[in-house]
């Protein structure tokens, strides 16, 4: 039986986290990361004057605090109301991730934006958002109806393809974060985009062609496909707008808008690849499950 309010809370948590990703993107794009030079307080206060880039940096901290509180609430709610032990553990894992994320954010301020820490902060944000979406899925009504197991005899196994797609999308997001924080040039990110898009196409088209009658798989594959195409378009737009405004004396709204949208839809791309992978693992029978390893075969009488 599902707890409707727990699911709604999880959905709210996911939306707030996506908003937090947007707020973080605005900090980087506006070069506001060090506009508040102290941490955890801002100018020694809980509420500094929200002028200039302080609005973005302190606003990001305020949204992050809200998400942190929501995460504590989720972990406690899961602990009290959820029977599935693994889901309760996932709540605590999310809490550990959000605390780590806060510490990484503080380190970026105190140590003046060290690239590995800034990139780590950006990558963990993406992983954390995917975790919130997964919890929303696990607490949903559709999940409680149970799996509808189907076979898929194609090669490579759909499970491996789904996992590999998640890994490729995550690595691509890490490359994007490296470009944002000037640790790498654009070329690896462009190559990564081709590989990640290719993997998404391979996985989604295969699911759509072979499992079109399975609602959960078809919807997840369509969502991943649509979001990925949107992401590729936003990536091109962000790059073009950056080139067009390179001479401007300050960040131009068109560049900031496309870049932040690219970051946010990047988070959605990873989350949708994770959702599809979860649906594949749940609903598609693993081909190896049918094979009885020779060494463990029960001898016939």
């Amino acid at each position: 039986m599902t707890n409707v309010w727990l699911h709604r809370y999880a959905v709210l948590w996911s939306f707030c986290t996506l908003f937090l990703v947007v707020a973080g993107g605005l900090v980087t794009s506006n070069d506001a990361g060090l506009s508040v030079p102290d941490w955890p307080l801002s100018y020694g206060k809980l509420m500094p004057p929200m002028e200039g880039n302080i609005f973005y940096e302190h606003g990001h901290r305020m949204v992050a605090t809200t998400v942190g509180l929501l995460t504590i609430g989720m972990a406690i709610w899961l602990m009290r109301a959820e029977r599935r032990r693994w889901l309760r553990n996932l709540g605590w894992t999310a809490l550990a991730a959000v605390v780590t994320q806060g510490v990484l954010g503080g380190m970026t301020v105190i140590f003046l934006l060290p690239k590995p820490v800034s990139i780590g902060h950006a990558c963990l944000a993406q992983l954390f958002f995917s975790t919130t979406v997964a919890v929303a899925l696990f607490t949903s009504k559709s999940w409680s109806r149970g799996p509808r197991v189907v076979d898929d005899a194609g090669a490579p196994p759909l499970h491996w393809l789904a996992l590999a797609t998640c890994v490729c999308v995550f690595l691509q997001l890490a490359l994007g974060a490296s470009v944002r924080h000037q640790a790498l040039g654009i070329l690896p990110h462009v190559v990564g985009a081709m590989i990640a898009t290719g993997m998404v196409l391979w996985l989604s088209v295969r699911v759509l062609m072979r499992q079109t009658g399975h609602d959960a798989l078809r919807r997840s594959a369509l969502a991943l496909l649509f979001i990925t195409f949107l992401q590729v378009f936003l990536g091109i737009a962000a790059y073009m707008s950056r080139l067009a405004t390179a001479e401007a004396p300050q960040p131009m709204p068109v560049m900031v808008g496309f870049t932040v949208a690219h970051v946010a839809v990047g988070a959605l791309t990873l989350a949708s690849s994770v959702v599809l992978a979860i649906q594949v693992f749940r609903n598609v029978r693993h081909p190896l499950a049918e094979i009885e390893p020779e060494g463990f075969a029960v001898p016939s009488a």
């Binding site: 060090l34 100018y43 004057p49 880039n53 940096e57 894992t93």
Partner: protein
Amino acid sequence: MNKILLSFGIATTVFFTGCGGSKPPETAKEESAAPAAAPTAADDANAATVTGKVSFSGEKPTPRTLDMSANPICARAHAGAPPKSEEVVVNGDGTLKNVFVWVKSGVPDRQWPVPGTPVELAQKGCMYGPHVIGVMAKQNIKIVNGDMTNHNIHPLPKINQEWNESQPPKGEDKLKSFAREEVMITVKCNVHPWMRSYIGVVNHPFFAVTGDDGTFSIKGLPPGKYTLEAWHEKYGPKDVDVTVAPKESKSVDFDFKG
């Protein structure tokens, strides 16, 4: 599902070992190496002078307007005329302002006296003034906030120590210095992203910044062969070799094309 959780935990651990564990780049220490002989001034009797002009040729760029609407205090300070970027300032006579001219090589290796007077870097109307300054290594820079808003001062050196400090409205002046020669150090304010300033830090006193007439004058130079560099934030550096005899005054001109 426990396997998924375990995988997430391992992935996170591996990720942070790889991405977040390294130290920030090591920066230069503020202290200099062991002190050399006592500071010596140039030999005034034989000192030479290099003067010159930095001209600009080509199409004069239109200065870009700065959007200060994010901070009403900054915007109000320019209510009369919209603030313009100082990235390229071409004077009325076709010369270029804010060019840092310094003797890049050839200066005798001795410890030149560091002036006791600090060079002022003001924040007024949410703009740095002057836009380009030169100081000697270890010479103080007095940073003044004349605005009724918070600023932060964030130099981005590659050799010297990086720092980032806030300065409240009409707050106490800050005295800062850089230990090592570095041409140039970009200074920005992360609160107001349009604010940029550049500091040339040199081991000797032979440098100048062009002003409203695009000229420069470097005095007290010992006779010898030198390389002069003129640096502009958009057009980069240009070098010229020059030889000066005792008491000679020489003219050296630079030209930047737009």
